[in-house]
Symmetry: C2
Subunit: 342 residues, 2 copies
């Protein structure tokens, strides 16, 4: 099995990223050695996934120090450029600001450069450790000898580690526990069809793709023993925002008494949101619906409803797997205990 490496850090030089827009048909690696190149790669979705964007931002700050210098004004300008590439990506913004703080606490240009590269390397290691922990904690929850259903892409390509939900799936499979993974296409951006199927193919894990419309049929057929997805934001009461389409999977799983799991690191919990109704939901361009890439299927100018996320009520979630613990209902108490430790 070849390890999937979406981002390689070359301290003192730059980073090499796997261009995710070329997947699954071409494994094109691109070297990024300037802030502008990093920003372009983020905007063009060559790198994506909240945790991987955080890492890319950390690397972008080290590249800024290397390329442009290390005085406060220069680094602040670079931080702004990096953050403004995708304003809704909270990990990216938070990590870039932490990198800036780290640089400021170092004295002298060489020390600042070294501190920023060290920060990026540490951040990468932390992501990998967290993913491994989620995998180990979550794998025992998956059905022995059975199959699971997942949605969107939550693997190495999204985190730079082994992934969140897909990391749990992969761990359970490598332990000889889990036999098969079903993946939804995940319209409109097709991360399941393009990226998850590519990762599962690289891992040599037996996998089957399905249209999003077929997920309820699959669950009703008894072919899967659990559904597991990642999360974009988890409220204090356990309500979970994740890639649009997740809520229906949880609703149908509950009707068939099949467990529905969320896998997400502690950083995804947002105790400032009391419940799902207070989580802001990003709406994306209408042109993503009724077509893909250059191809169109719907009449020109058709209006579209295109939320990026939906909210799964806590009552439908069997357990939430974080890197520290497996949370069970009532989530008000278990989420509160978890976030108090961070």
């Amino acid at each position: 099995m070849d390890e999937i490496e979406p981002l390689r850090i070359m301290p003192g030089t730059g980073i090499e990223v796997l261009d995710q827009t070329a997947l699954p048909f071409e494994e094109r690696r691109v070297v990024l050695a300037t802030v502008e190149e990093v920003c372009e790669a983020i905007r063009a979705l060559r790198v994506r996934g909240a945790p991987l964007l955080g890492l890319t931002g950390a690397c972008g700050m080290a590249i800024a120090a290397q390329e442009r210098g290390t005085d406060d004004g220069t680094l602040e300008l670079a931080a702004n450029e990096l953050i403004s590439t995708r304003p809704t990506a909270t990990d990216l913004g938070a990590v870039v600001l932490r990198a800036l703080t780290t640089a400021r606490s170092a004295a002298g240009s060489d020390a600042r450069r070294d501190a920023l590269w060290d920060f990026a390397l540490d951040y990468a290691r932390a992501r990998q450790d967290e993913d491994r922990s989620m995998g180990e904690l979550g794998a025992p929850l998956l059905p022995v000898g059975g199959a699971v259903l997942t949605h969107c892409n939550t693997g190495a390509l999204a985190t730079g580690g082994i992934g969140s939900a897909l990391g749990v799936i992969r761990t359970a499979w490598q332990q000889g526990r889990l036999a098969h993974c079903y993946a939804t296409e995940t319209r409109p951006l097709l991360q399941g069809a393009r990226l998850t199927m590519w990762e599962l193919d690289r891992l040599r894990m037996p996998a089957t793709l399905l249209p999003d419309t077929a997920a309820a049929s699959l669950i009703a057929s008894g072919r899967v023993g659990a559904v597991i997805t990642g999360a974009d934001r988890i409220a204090a009461n356990g309500d979970t925002a994740n890639k649009v389409g997740t809520y229906a999977l949880a609703a149908v799983a509950a009707r068939h008494d099949i467990p529905f799991f969320i896998a997400a690191p502690t950083s995804t919990f947002d105790p400032s949101c009391p419940d799902g109704a207070t989580i802001p939901i990003e709406f994306r361009p209408e042109a993503e619906v009724g077509g893909f890439g250059e191809q169109r299927w719907s009449p020109a100018g058709a209006a579209a409803y295109n939320p990026a996320f939906d909210v799964t009520p806590a009552a439908l979630i069997t357990a939430i797997i974080s890197e520290q613990a497996v949370l069970r209902p009532p989530y008000g108490a278990s989420v509160s205990r978890l976030v108090s430790k961070r």
Copy 2:
């Protein structure tokens, strides 16, 4: 408003069909004057939708008499050719066999030809009358001043009349009752994005397209007052097989106390199936998943789960609108009354 005419009968000559593979971008009309041309149009999905395929089959038999002659052997051969184009389309097979019986009961070549054209014209009128009745009976169930969500294509393009579920929607809108229609893309064949959005555009009805993944978010948001779809087969207990993706819509609608309606003519009821578990489900080619047309998104050779239909349990269906009556639970009794009249 321009009337949508997917099939025009030209007695003594042939038929002119709207090539549905060219929609929504081109309104290409094709004249079919031989059995081989009719078969090609069915196989290539230029005409589709169970009721419209029935009508196409009836016309195909009249064309056979015109083109090839009217003796029993010639007509039986043509019937076989027509039926074998899409072996799972029950309407097509049933109507072609009824046309054959009609021809046999006429004496002489001219009488047989005339009987077959008359059969096709009568069948077309009956479809239009049934659709109008469903529209009138169903429209009062839809929310006043509100919006509905529908799935797949159930309009004029599918039936040759005003449609089943989309006929009810259109009637309610033309009565000034309903304000807006939301339509799912309907992966993998995208009938919602390609055909329903085109029909709604032609009708000038306000409409919005959404990815199948966004339907649960839409329902949870309170934007729709009802969900309404067609049906492919309805069992004796009311369990309903329809285009894959329907079941999840019904499950989520039930969670939000939004009515879920089925609109289907009496011919769709199959009392020989006691419940949904006994309805045979067609699986379609794996290549339909992970791509569309010439475009591919998933790794080559990815396995796919691709059922054409799913089964919505009767318990999730608020009412079934047929051309004769609006059926309410318990469906065992109401379905039995309905089919006893046919």
